[in-house]
């Protein structure tokens, strides 16, 4: 049972690396290759798909929809991340305090995660409906609006609607991980600060925020990764409409592939998505490295 130290070290990460190669490397390479091919329905059956160089990318970048979807993806991602994170952090701080039932209530907040998106998306479709939705009903009764808001069917509001739903889905994730980060901050620091007369804001500013930094960057990075490729929630709520108002790179990629059957173009859009995420991942890693160097 004894291993040489070198072998033991290898055994920690080699299985995972092999796993990554099979389960991620293979699909990634396949997707990149496909984006350089004229891949059609026939290709699936007879395997033949001529290479066409950069044609798919030229088609995609030249499409009137490209700039729209890029902008939509940016708005959707930034808005979702900002609200998810802010609300998640607020809740994590709140549940950090000790009071009866805190644990159970906090656990219940994870429930939205369990629902298949078909279900939560459908419920949001009902809640946001212009004529019989609960949200408009409540807002009208509170006199916050004069006319029902066409949340899902007006190009001006549809993006707000999908962001609302996506924020709701993302809050539990942000809350749980930030809460985990908060619990690892030694309470002694707060007690010492309280003795020094630091107020709640000062304690947050000088203790919580700096010590939470590593967790914050992980949450934002993972949140970004999930938000940029969000797909189901948009498909259930608005089918990327009305009139492409909520068309994201992810939904467009799907439509190109499986509605219009231009698999090469769909793959190309998917790769654009991956490149965007790569840029953000590089930013994240630079931040991590600077942090490590600072220690």
């Amino acid at each position: 049972m004894t291993m040489t130290p070198r072998l033991a070290r290898l055994s920690f990460y080699v299985p995972a690396v092999l796993y990554l190669a099979v389960f991620f490397g293979y699909p990634l390479v396949a997707n990149v290759v496909m984006s350089f091919q004229d891949y059609t329905v026939t290709s699936f059956y007879d395997g033949g798909a001529p290479f066409t160089g950069l044609d798919n990318y030229a088609e995609v970048f030249g499409d009137e929809l490209f700039s729209t979807t890029l902008w939509n993806t940016l708005v959707f991602t930034v808005a979702s991340l900002a609200f998810q994170f802010a609300i998640g952090l607020g809740l994590a701080l709140f549940f950090r305090r000790h009071f009866p039932l805190a644990g159970v209530l906090r656990a219940l907040l994870l429930l939205p995660w369990l629902l298949p998106l078909l279900v939560s998306g459908t419920v949001f479709r009902w809640l946001l409906d212009q004529d019989y939705g609960v949200l408009n009903h409540v807002l009208l009764n509170l006199r916050l609006i004069d006319d029902p808001v066409p949340w899902l069917v007006s190009p001006d509001h549809a993006m707000a609607a999908v962001v609302i739903a996506n924020v709701w889905i993302g809050i539990p994730f942000n809350m749980v991980i930030l809460y985990g980060g908060l619990t690892s901050i030694p309470p002694g620091l707060y007690e010492a600060a309280a003795l020094d007369g630091a107020g709640a804001w000062q304690r947050f500013r000088h203790i919580t925020w700096p010590l939470l930094r590593p967790v914050t960057s992980v949450v934002l990075m993972l949140g970004l990764v999930y938000t940029v490729k969000a797909f189901d929630v948009v498909m259930v709520l608005t089918q990327a409409g009305p009139a492409d108002a909520t068309q994201l790179l992810s939904t467009w990629s799907y439509q190109l592939s499986f509605t219009q059957l231009h698999f090469g173009q769909g793959a190309a859009v998917g790769n654009v998505l991956i490149v965007i995420a790569m840029l953000f991942a590089l930013v994240y890693l630079r931040a991590v490295r600077r942090e490590q160097a600072g220690r």
């Binding site: 329905v41 059956y45 395997g47 479709r125 004529d131 009305p242």
Partner: protein, 404 residues
């Protein structure tokens, strides 16, 4: 240590579940002499009807039939993957506009002379053909008609509309409070396009020429229903099942919908409705409805002969009758259709339009999906006021041309 204990618990649970005898949690086995059928009839009544008919025909032809049921949006992707992996099912039941793309892969068996389609409606056979060869046969088809609430019409003292002008006037007159005059689907998918096609074809336009003056006329009329306030803006997000729910809930005096809704509507005891053919631009025109419904196809493979035998049984008059009765489809054979109208009079307008119904893929083949997408997007751009009909259709024509 909690972490390890929970790990151990999870491991134990998994181990116990895996070893419960007969539980079969790892794989699903199929016996020999089994035919697999891929379809999307997940919900009732289609689900039970299909299972029953396949069971009966399986007994008759001496095979066991296993269904692979999946959500509608997953069927084509699954079949393409299956084609690539060489694991195609023995029979496929797909939406008829999807048949062209499946047939274009070369994976399907031509059915001419293999199954008995003697006397079927020409329109049904046209919808199952790709490049002049028959690849798909439907036991029943469906189309669109105008459903109206008898009580509301009686109260207002008006007759169901037969022309576009009457439709617009009636829809405006019957819009009141929380009730709209008309409900239809304008969703950004094929469902929205399919509901618009009767207007498009009614005006004399073609799918191959989306920016023709006729097409602009059709879209201008269609959009007027929205600008009058007779159709809810929410229609942009309604599938046809949502449209039916609006109608049943009393939120619309009329709706455009398909025959498959008849069974569900009949179950609503408080609802007294009538069905008439879709209004046309001028009195006396023939309604031009698209031909809808699912079609059977047989992928090439080792068991193709058995599959054809099974399909022949499904298409026999008695099973065709049973199928159409349960699903409220129009049977593919005029004689069977006539028999069924005797039992279900509401089906009459659908049967009347079946011979002249147009298959969506006849002119376009595999180019249809791109055109469909362009049309539904144009509908939404106009209904939301982003573009006027002529601009939207010009852009749609450009998009459709780009994509093909």
């Amino acid at each position: 240590m909690p972490a390890r204990r929970s790990l151990a618990t999870a491991a134990a649970t998994a181990a116990v579940l895996a070893t419960v005898p007969g539980c079969g949690l790892i794989t699903a086995q199929t016996g020999p002499n089994t035919l697999t059928v891929a379809d999307y009839y997940t919900a009732e009544p289609g689900n039970t009807a299909l299972t029953e008919i396949l069971r009966a025909c399986g007994e008759q032809t001496g095979v066991t039939v296993v269904r692979e049921v999946m959500p509608r949006s997953q069927l084509v992707p699954k079949l393409l993957r299956d084609g690539a992996a060489g694991t195609l099912p023995d029979l496929v039941l797909s939406d008829n506009p999807d048949l062209a793309k499946l047939a274009s892969t070369g994976a399907l068996l031509p059915l001419d002379g293999r199954v008995d389609t003697e006397g079927f409606y020409d329109s049904v056979l046209a919808a199952g053909s790709y490049q002049g060869e028959l690849y798909g046969v439907a036991p029943g088809v469906n189309g669109l008609a105008l459903f109206y609430d008898r009580a509301v019409f009686a109260e207002a003292g008006i007759e169901p509309p037969t022309t576009w002008d009457e439709l617009r006037a009636a829809a405006a007159a019957l819009t009141e409070g929380s009730r709209y005059g008309l409900a239809l689907s304008a969703i950004g998918t094929e469902e929205g396009t399919w509901q618009f096609e009767p207007f498009l074809w009614g005006a004399g336009a073609e799918l191959t020429d989306l920016d023709s003056p006729q097409a602009v006329t059709a879209l201008t009329f269609w959009a007027s229903l929205f600008s009058d306030g007779s159709v809810s803006a929410s229609a942009l997000n309604w599938q046809q099942s949502d449209v039916a729910e609006q109608f049943v809930g009393g939120h619309a005096a009329m709706m455009i919908n398909g025959s498959w809704q008849l069974a569900a509507l009949d179950a609503e005891e408080e609802l007294d409705y009538g069905v008439v053919p879709l209004p046309t631009p001028n009195a006396g025109d023939r309604p031009a409805t698209p031909l809808g419904g699912e079609t059977w196809a047989v992928p090439r493979g080792e068991r193709q002969e058995q599959a054809v035998e099974l399909l022949d049984c499904v298409l026999s008059p008695d099973h065709m009758y049973e199928w159409a009765r349960l699903r409220a489809d129009v049977p593919a054979h005029p004689d069977v259709a006539e028999r069924l109208v005797g039992e279900q009079p509401d089906l009459a307008p659908f049967v009347a339009s079946a011979p002249s119904a147009e298959a969506r893929t006849v002119d376009l083949g595999t180019g249809y999906p791109a055109v469909s997408q362009a049309i539904s997007t144009a509908l939404q751009r106009v209904a939301t006021g982003q573009l006027d009909p002529a601009e939207a259709l010009a852009r749609a024509q450009r998009e459709a041309a780009d994509a093909s």
